[in-house]
């Protein structure tokens, strides 16, 4: 170990300057010793014999001359069994344990271990002495809740290693030695169930990255049918405040068809995290029948917690996601909100007196955002299994204007865009994903042409609506008016979804298909409607029955009766279908 020492020479907001002797590494973690507390910090610039560090805590009370301790490590997370169901802050401190020790408040300088050291796990070895191992290879497993948690050769064990010995099946703690490996030069190293990995480096122990193709079902109709997300893909949800970004993410975190969900609450409201962490343990996951919390990890760095750890929190989250991906699992990472993370970068850039880019964001904003989203992906692992990390990030554009730097940088790198609009949320049309602005490059659960066909009604309806604003209802032909009503109908009964209704909140792909077929039967039909009043009245009646249907459980009477009413209402107007409509309906069957 080199002889290192350092002292604080300047303090400005959450940045301290350190005068040091010896060698210092960029992004090295250091501790400022102030009033008996150790304040975690990260070196973000080195210049001559002075280094600047961002402090992950409130800097009040730091004095010139305070001693600094060097850790010789980059900011890392602990990886191993015991992460599932946990609630961490941005630096992977377990919040429940901090609450137990310190009460109501998050005092500075308190760091606890992320993984329990006392818990015993029942380990079963899989690799045998003499086996050749590469990083990421499985040497054994432990059951973690209902998952088989693979114990892997740490990701920084480059090259080939030979397993020298391994413990028999039994109960071990995460720090117990479970095996020894030797490299070609005969260097022997001990293996434990846990190891650490620097958060800002992507885990790259896989054979190849594949194209995301398989849809990740969210049970939200407008997403699954119109703007799907694929496993291993990326998507973003920009929207002005109050448009429902967070509610949409909460709904997705409950219903998404993945193995593990990681929620990174980054610089947002504490109250929203609380809802998740109090409610998830009570809700059962329909896939497994176990509590939803058992498949969830929360990384929570809310807006009033120190800014620097906000920046770290998204990396902590994605690193844990990659770790579980290495076990062949599908992981969904929801980051709310990436704008707050970008703002944290901006604050620090300002303190460093870097030359600002647009809206004072640093010039490297785009490349940092791109690098983050690129950590998503579906990969083939060495053992032939597949794992994926899907990333969905909300963006909170200033003034709701999508032209701002963070939204633009994000749009360049994601595969789907769910743009929320103030106009729709004001009219209580939830989820407020704008059907004409949004897009997705991924395949969904319905045939593409049929979706495009349905979407064309929305486009034409909005054209007619715009025209009507100029020429008035009386200047619009009945044919156009019906087109307008069809678009409105599709919007009201299919795009909009009530996330607080027990049935409507989550709609299975099968039910979506049935409903979509039914909606298409109405959209595609030439109908015998007398005049505009007749048309409007008829569509409203249909909408009424359809909304009843949306709220009805499939095994109930209301479901059958509403379905019957809809069929009768439709039949009464003698629907006839052109060749395109017939074709589309056929494709859905």
């Amino acid at each position: 170990m080199s002889q290192k020492s350092g002292r604080v020479v300047a303090v400005n907001g959450n940045m301290v300057s350190i005068g040091f002797q010896g060698n210092v590494a960029m992004n090295e973690v250091v501790y400022v010793l102030s009033k008996g507390k150790r304040l975690k910090s990260e070196i973000i610039r080195v210049k001559g014999s002075e280094a600047q560090a961002q402090v992950y805590e409130i800097t009040k009370g730091i004095r010139i001359g305070d001693e600094v301790e060097f850790s010789e490590e980059m900011l890392s997370v602990e990886l191993g069994p015991g992460l599932l169901g946990q609630i961490y802050d941005g630096l992977q401190n377990p919040l429940p344990e901090i609450a137990e020790q310190k009460g109501f408040f998050l005092e500075s300088g308190v760091y606890l271990r992320a993984l329990s050291r006392s818990k015993r796990w029942s380990f079963s070895p899989q690799a045998k002495p003499g086996d050749i191992l590469r990083r990421g290879d499985c040497i054994g497993s432990v059951p973690e809740l209902h998952f088989t948690h693979k114990i892997m050769l740490p990701f920084d064990f480059f090259g080939e290693w030979t397993l020298a010995d391994i413990v028999p099946a039994g109960e071990y703690g995460v720090e117990d030695a479970i095996a020894h490996v030797r490299d070609q030069r005969g260097v022997e190293r001990e293996l434990r169930m846990m190891f650490s990995w620097p958060v800002k480096r992507a885990v790259d122990c896989y054979v190849e990255r594949l194209k995301p193709k398989q849809p990740m079902v969210t049970k939200t109709r407008i997403i699954d049918t119109f703007f799907p997300v694929a496993k291993g893909g990326t998507y973003c949800i920009p929207g002005p405040f109050g448009a429902g970004k967070t509610v949409l993410q909460q709904v997705t975190s409950r219903n998404a068809d993945v193995d593990i969900v990681i929620l990174a609450a980054c610089g947002e409201r504490a109250g929203e995290v609380v809802e998740t962490l109090k409610e998830f343990p009570q809700i059962s996951d329909p896939r497994t029948g176990r509590s939803l919390m058992e498949r969830t990890i929360i990384i929570c760095n809310t807006s009033s917690m120190p800014v620097a750890s906000r920046e770290a929190s998204v990396y902590t989250a994605v690193t844990i996601a990659e770790y579980y991906r290495q076990m062949g699992l599908d992981v969904l990472l929801l980051a709310d909100s990436t704008s707050r993370w970008a703002q944290a970068m901006r604050e620090m850039s300002g303190r460093l007196e870097e030359i600002p880019g647009e809206e004072a964001f640093p010039a490297y904003l785009e490349s940092v955002i791109a690098a983050f989203y690129e950590r998503a992906g579906i990969v083939r692992l060495a053992d032939g299994s597949y794992g994926s990390v899907t990333i969905g990030g909300t963006v909170s554009p200033a003034g709701g204007n999508f032209e701002e730097p963070v939204t633009q940088a994000t749009l360049k790198v994601v595969g789907a865009f769910h743009g929320l609009s103030r106009e729709r949320s004001d009219a209580r049309k939830y989820p407020a994903i704008h059907p004409l602005d949004s897009w997705s490059k991924y395949p969904g659960i319905m045939p593409k042409e049929v979706v495009a066909y349905a979407h064309s009604f929305l486009e034409r309806s909005s054209e007619v609506e715009a025209m009507m604003k100029v020429v008035g209802e009386e200047g619009t032909s009945l044919e156009d008016y019906i087109l307008y009503l069809k678009g409105e109908f599709l919007d009201a009964v299919y795009l909009q979804q009530n996330s607080f209704d027990p049935v409507d909140a989550s709609v299975s792909p099968e039910r979506q298909k049935t409903m979509f077929h039914l909606v298409l039967e109405i959209l595609g039909a030439d109908l015998a409607l007398k005049d505009k009043d007749d048309a409007r009245g008829w569509f409203y009646e249909l909408r009424q029955s359809f909304l009843d249907l949306n709220g009805a459980a499939e095994d109930g009477d209301l479901y059958q009766s509403s379905l019957k009413t809809i069929r009768e209402t439709l039949a009464a107007r003698n629907p006839r279908y052109g060749s395109e409509a017939k074709n589309m309906l056929l494709r859905l069957e």
């Binding site: 303090v11 004095r63 010139i64 109250g271 609380v274 962490l277 300002g350 009843d548």
Partner: protein, 440 residues
């Protein structure tokens, strides 16, 4: 320990610097000049230079004035003696009463562990249908009132303060006009609430640095009372002045501005104050209502914009009424499922129809012919505005719901409302006949 320094190195804006040793970041000092003694806070350390922000401003400060460090950060006294008292932004009495120095507590403390928060479950009734019915206020919520100068936002704030059932009211006034300060004092006195009120008031005539302290003082005191089991309502008016003070100070410190001159950390600064709103598990709570006047009535201005992302909704006060569009209580879903079964349906249904009414109004203003449906909407909109939106309406939630059904029934056929059939069967007023607006 309390060493005296008698040479000021630089004076820039309200920031002075002295050469001193052993000073902690955030430490408080006293600056004595020929115009009196002022507090100052350490805002930057650079080698042996200490930069201090002078609360009373730097006007008249001489390079030869004395600076004495106090060895502690900004503090405020906390005890029941605070009740009924009025202080300024430096924590000194404004009401002529004695200064308080017992049981000093630090301000701007650490944030609450999210794990120790609980999900808000209790509604705060205000008697205002636009709040109770459409955007319910919830205990421990943080909500701003977005408004423009000239709107009766302080009147609304005072009315909510007096009608809401809370143990304690703490008013933080920032850049208040003196008249408004007197208005609050008088109306709380008349309403008999002064004894359960504590006021920290910075008026427009006071030094700008003191403006920054007001929310921290108010919230530090609120937090302690909440920990003792009290339900506290904190009123902050006007947060725009607070943000403008931040801007003024960051610009004089030569920080790179991010958006329209505001500092890049505006979001974090506002968030650390608003996030003090909390419901403590096993103790009291803090509910925060704050006024944000929107410069130029522009909601995309950085102050309302950043605020909207932090708070749990917002009320738009416009033309003396709370606007249904844009106004939102994010926590309402936590409580409005337990009030009455028709609450949510009426809330959504009426707003959807009101939105159609606004479209019709637009069509009408452009001179288009009104259809029968349009005429129904016009009638509905007028009734909604007078019976629901008018701020003089003061009725309970249940009465407001009944009123809602009455309005609907007098304008529409049941199927036109988009409400579910089972609710219509139960609540649709019997024997109500549409006074056919379409006839005209």
């Amino acid at each position: 320990m309390n060493k005296l320094y008698s040479h000021i190195e630089s004076i820039v804006g309200n920031v002075i610097s002295v050469r001193a040793e052993g000073v902690a970041y955030g430490e408080l000092a006293e600056v004595t000049s020929r115009y009196g003694v002022s507090l100052a806070e350490t805002i930057r350390l650079d080698k042996e230079l200490v930069y201090l922000q002078v609360f009373a401003g730097s006007r008249g400060i001489s390079t030869g004035d004395e600076v004495r460090f106090l060895g502690h950060p900004m503090q405020v006294s906390f005890s029941d003696n605070l009740l009924g008292r009025i202080f300024d932004g430096a924590g000194s009495p404004r009401d002529g009463g004695p200064g308080l120095t017992d049981n000093l507590i630090a301000i701007g403390g650490p944030s609450v562990n999210p794990y120790k928060r609980i999900i808000p479950r209790e509604m705060i009734r205000t008697g205002i249908p636009m709040i109770d019915l459409f955007n319910t206020l919830v205990k421990s919520q943080k909500l701003p009132i977005f408004s423009v100068s000239g709107e009766p936002y302080n009147q609304l704030l005072a009315r909510i303060a007096m009608q809401a059932e809370v143990d304690l009211i703490i008013l933080g006034g920032m850049g208040l006009k003196y008249d408004d300060y007197l208005f609050f004092k008088d109306s709380l006195e008349e309403g008999g609430s002064l004894a359960k009120t504590i006021m920290f008031v910075h008026t427009a005539a006071d030094p700008v640095v003191e403006c920054l302290q007001v929310p921290d003082l108010a919230l530090a005191v609120a937090e302690r009372f909440a920990l003792k089991g009290r339900n506290v309502l904190v009123l902050l008016t006007d947060m725009t002045n607070f943000a403008d003070a931040l801007k003024e100070i960051s610009i004089t410190q030569e920080q790179v501005p991010s958006n329209r001159g505001y500092p890049g950390d505006l979001y974090s600064q506002l968030a650390s104050r608003y996030e003090k709103a909390v419901d403590f598990d096993g103790a009291g709570s803090i509910t925060t209502l704050a006024v944000t006047t929107m410069p130029g009535d522009d909601v995309t201005h950085p102050i309302p914009d950043n605020t909207g992302y932090i708070t749990e909704g917002q009320f738009y006060l416009h033309g003396g009424r709370i606007e249904p569009f844009g106004s939102l209580s994010r926590l309402k879903q936590l409580v409005n499922g337990k009030t009455r079964e028709d609450h949510r349906a009426i809330m959504d249904g009426m707003i959807k129809l009101f939105s159609s009414y606004r479209d019709t109004l637009e069509k009408k203003s452009m001179g288009f012919q009104m259809s029968a449906w349009d005429r129904k909407l016009l009638k509905y909109g007028e009734l909604f505005e007078s019976k629901m939106m008018d701020l003089s309406v003061n009725i309970s939630l249940e009465k407001a719901l009944d009123e809602g059904w009455k309005i609907l029934a007098s304008c529409f056929e049941p199927r036109e409302t988009g409400l579910r059939s089972e609710l219509i069967q139960k609540f649709w007023p019997k024997g109500m006949v549409q006074t056919e607006a379409a006839a005209g």
